[in-house]
Symmetry: C3
Amino acid sequence: MAVHQETIDVPTRGSGFVNVTAEVARVVANSGVRCGLCTVFIQHTSASLVIQENADPAVLRDLQRWASDLAPESRPWEHDDEGPDDMPAHAKSALARTSESIPVRDGRLTLGTWQGLYVWEHRARPHRRRLVVHVAGE
Amino acid sequence: MAVHQETIDVPTRGSGFVNVTAEVARVVANSGVRCGLCTVFIQHTSASLVIQENADPAVLRDLQRWASDLAPESRPWEHDDEGPDDMPAHAKSALARTSESIPVRDGRLTLGTWQGLYVWEHRARPHRRRLVVHVAGE
Amino acid sequence: MAVHQETIDVPTRGSGFVNVTAEVARVVANSGVRCGLCTVFIQHTSASLVIQENADPAVLRDLQRWASDLAPESRPWEHDDEGPDDMPAHAKSALARTSESIPVRDGRLTLGTWQGLYVWEHRARPHRRRLVVHVAGE
């Protein structure tokens, strides 16, 4: 059994999605693990991880608008001193994922054909988001 | 430490829930792991995993209607070329889980008394959904 | 590789959040694992796990009100024989997490500065909630 960890810093361009599949796959390759589990963890509460369709970018635009309607800036949030986009960001991060686990087989992530792993930035402005990638297996 | 992986194909009957607890428990038994972790991963972005009450089927019907109201077909989705049920399915999969991890103790999943693990089909028509089950432990 | 499991019972005071970060960190310390993964699992379907901001308690109050508006008691739920707060609780648990995985490095959870791990009680009355904490690594 081998255990391997790396940290990835992901710059975002404000609210929306950044595909990190290739960078996480590179960590899996670095680990040398052939059969195991890769867990990705995001160290923030106003950005998330989500696995979504990697084909039509309209899917991501729809998700963005849908989540913003579920947790709108216009709602009378009590926590509003970090800007009108902050509390909606926390709400969206309660809805999407803070960690995601993907089995590794033959040294590769077992993602489906249409799956990509994304950092979902919920804040309006660009941020630098830190991921911890953990790979364990043999 | 042992690592064990199996793939399970789950036929669904259109939107709704399929209880896969027994099939996942069988993989845990096959693994021979007594103390460890079982991670289930679904290779799709229009169907999810969710752990829910296994007693009253009305709970699942309520969840289905509630999620369909949160992500309705009637919303003007930009991504609509795969049918009116496709983008609501992606939205629901952003809300429920793509992976679920359950500790294993004494060779069994440590699910609570009322917990069942379900594949949640979000598309209207039946599909075949693929799960990767990973078990690691001793 | 070491595998370590402990059960934690968390008393809640009715709907709201209980910070369990310190108790989970204690299990990680007990495990002796320096580099690994900690997975926390909640054995219930009307309470959740969620990682959220640990600084301003108004964030948690906002989350509570927001989730209650998404899954209101006033909705005509079919499953209503366990009280008006029961089905909203199941819906909220489909939205937040049943399991959460956090990498361990240098013997500590790699949580971000502002992250705390919470049990999110969705029922109106106090309950005793059981967590299974699994730590594996070297």
